[in-house]
């Protein structure tokens, strides 16, 4: 058990370089609290797995240090770090039985049979593998194989952290849900530090207390699921989290108003003037927009399309050629082609060069 600190970590697969584009992971600092449940969220190729492999020691970072508590372990080999890691695709030892597969990490560390056996049986029960303990792992289905991989990650009780690298990709949705709840339960029961890599926002938001969003080798936001939803620190977080993602439209700032194609939108906050070269954008979640009947105030918009997705409807509207998504309740009437759009000042964010800009309350 340890607090894991990443100091000035950067990694380039082609070796140290002066070109920042060579870096798969750009300089980052991060602390993982002992016993926390974290999710690393980001699109494929954003450096999530690289970061994970640096923590587990499968990769030595080009720059920076990794600390467990206060001990520098940057160059310590994986075997000595006491880390468990589960990979995207099942890794099993074909010729061993399920029992031996699960017991393997303990056996390698010289534990006695007496200690191993009850532990393996308890874990197998939890994963629903107790009937297969005696069969050769090779003959099982992909689901069961991935359960074995998971089991090998969970068998040791005193690990510093358990790293999950998109472990549920190959598992079917029903079982996915079940296994994820079991992981949460295990986390509560044993207090392992868990770091869960995924590109699936639902998985990240349901699993973790803290979500770290990565984009192109950088951490763009660290926060609770609520923070990520309400105050995305970067336009990418806005897009990536939420379904549909945040509406982002270019605007000009004028004091406490944003100007979009001549229409003024109240922001409730005062923003300093920006130079003309700066990219200023307005971001608003579809859930925080409201539609009303046309010609009674609000911004005039044209209704382009209505998608009914069950609990609510997503209306695509055009404001002078810029399309936005609006989430409206199931019962609401969308009358005709024209409507009026209302913004909620509390939930309208302003981005300067993709980063969240905070104004002054008035």
């Amino acid at each position: 058990m340890a607090t894991i600190t990443l100091q000035e970590i950067a990694h380039s697969y082609t070796g140290a370089s002066t070109n920042p584009d060579d870096y798969a992971l750009k300089k980052l600092n991060l602390t993982w609290r002992d016993g926390g449940a974290y999710a690393l969220l980001g699109p494929s190729g954003c450096g999530k797995t690289t970061l994970l492999n640096i923590i587990s020691g499968l990769l030595i970072p080009t720059d920076g240090r990794v600390l467990f508590n206060d001990q520098d372990i940057t160059r310590l080999p994986t075997e000595q770090r006491n880390i468990a890691q589960i990979f995207q695709f099942p890794v099993i030892y074909d010729t061993m039985t399920v029992f031996d597969n699960l017991a393997f990490p303990l056996k390698n560390r010289g534990r006695s049979r007496k200690e191993i056996e009850p532990r393996v049986i308890a874990l197998a029960k939890m994963l629903g593998l107790e009937k297969d303990l005696g069969t050769r792992a090779q003959h099982l289905t992909a689901d069961a194989k991935q359960k074995i991989s998971l089991g090998r990650g969970l068998i040791r009780q005193s690990v510093n952290a358990i790293l999950f690298d998109e472990p549920l990709t190959v598992i079917d949705p029903q079982l996915k849900w079940e296994l994820r709840s079991q992981l949460k339960y295990l986390h509560k029961q044993f207090g392992f530090t868990m770091i869960y890599v995924t590109h699936d926002q639902t998985e990240a938001l349901t699993f973790a207390e803290q979500v770290i969003v990565m984009y192109e080798g950088e951490i763009v936001q660290v926060g609770t699921p609520e923070e990520l939803f309400d105050r995305p620190a970067h336009t990418f977080v806005g897009y990536f989290i939420g379904s549909p993602g945040m509406n982002i439209i270019p605007c000009l700032l004028q004091g406490n108003q944003a100007v979009v194609d001549g229409h003024r939108i109240d922001l409730g906050q005062h923003y300093p003037d920006q130079p003309a070269s700066a990219k200023t954008e307005l971001g608003v979640r579809p859930e925080h927009l409201r539609l009303g009947p046309a010609d009674e105030g609000g911004l005039p918009v044209r209704v382009v399309k209505v998608n009914d997705i069950g609990r609510h409807r997503i209306v695509r509207v055009a404001l002078e050629g810029r399309e936005l998504n609006v989430v409206v309740p199931e019962q609401s009437e969308i009358g005709g082609e024209r409507a009026a759009l209302y913004f909620n000042p509390d939930h309208t964010n302003i981005y300067l060069n993709d980063h969240l800009l905070t104004g002054e309350r008035q």
Binding site: N53, S56, G57, L58, P77, T78, E79, I83, A84, Q85, F87, Q88, F89, V91, Y93, D94, T95, M96, F104, P105, N108, R109, Q138, H139, L140, T141, A142, K145, S149, R152, G153
Partner: protein, 294 residues
């Protein structure tokens, strides 16, 4: 009731296959069968002898010796070449400029024609002019493959190892390269020792290619002819007279067509039997992995 229309045209379609198989396999084999039940004293006169030659062969000490020699040779070859090939494959680099260098130098012995290999080693081992033979002699080692059966065996075995281990290396290397990185990473996480990685990851993943390697090396070494013929001609005495050499001696040297034909057939059946055994084993292994769902 409408009479069922039958069409026999399909037979003509298979006819070419029948012809090809007849001329390439059945007819030549039948001439051998024909010889094996007859005797001749020259002048193209043949007499029916029935199963006589087969009975002689089964009780012939010469045949037993050649057969045992053959089995011993193949056994030794497998015991050396398979572990050695795997060991070399494990030691080969996985990336960088070393890969093509190793692969090409490994493939070189395989490109040399068999009788050239024989000639190379025949000269290499000669005590008067060969690098190996002369060096050993000047070191005081009593090495002469033309007189000492042990030296002859050693020469042929070392030659075969030199010639064919590469094949095992290439096959094993291909097997090793197909193991995804995740397996090695998982092994590190699980704290597996180097031996455990070999025993539980590399060896099981190489199982299929190793079976092919064993099959190929067994069949090839069981039929070996050219190299021992060039180096020792089956001697000294009969010490390196393997089955194929014995067969040629009998058929071409002594011109005993009948017994040689009988021996050919038995040799052929033995190889056929071994092929069947290997094929069964291999397909069973294939079945087993298919049942795994992956």
């Amino acid at each position: 009731m409408i009479a069922k229309q039958t069409n026999q045209k399909a037979w003509f379609m298979v006819l070419p296959v029948f012809l090809v198989v007849a001329f390439s396999a059945v007819i030549p084999l039948m001439t051998v069968v024909n010889y094996s039940v007859q005797d001749t004293f020259g002048g193209n006169q043949f007499f029916w002898v029935g199963m006589e030659w087969f009975r002689d062969l089964i009780h012939s000490e010469r045949f037993h010796d050649a057969f045992l020699r053959q089995l011993l040779f193949s056994g030794i070859i497998l015991l050396i070449e398979i572990p050695l090939g795997v060991a070399i494959a494990l030691a080969m680099p996985k990336k960088g400029w070393g890969v093509p260098v190793c692969l090409i130098s490994m493939a070189l012995p395989l490109l040399i024609p068999w009788n050239v290999v024989g000639t190379i080693w025949q000269i290499f081992g000669r005590v008067d002019i060969g690098l190996l033979g002369h060096s050993l002699a000047s070191l005081g080692v009593n090495y002469n493959y033309t007189q000492d059966p042990l030296a002859a065996w050693l020469t042929i075995i070392v030659m075969d190892v030199w010639h064919w281990t590469s094949l095992v290396v290439l096959l094993a290397y291909a097997g090793l390269c197909s193991i995804p990185d995740a397996y090695y990473q998982a092994a590190k996480i699980d704290g597996a020792s180097r031996f455990a990685v070999f025993r539980y990851i590399q060896l099981p993943k190489m199982q299929r290619v190793l079976l092919i390697a064993i099959l190929l090396r067994f069949m090839d070494s069981f039929m070996i002819y050219t190299e021992p013929f060039v180096i020792t001609g089956g001697g000294p005495g009969n010490s390196t007279t393997f089955m194929s050499i014995d067969l040629v001696k009998m058929a071409v040297g002594q011109f005993d067509l009948g017994p040689a034909a009988a021996m050919s057939l038995v040799y052929f059946l033995v190889i056929l039997l071994l092929c069947w055994v290997f094929y069964t084993v291999m397909t069973n292994v294939g079945e087993e992995s298919r049942k795994g769902g992956n």
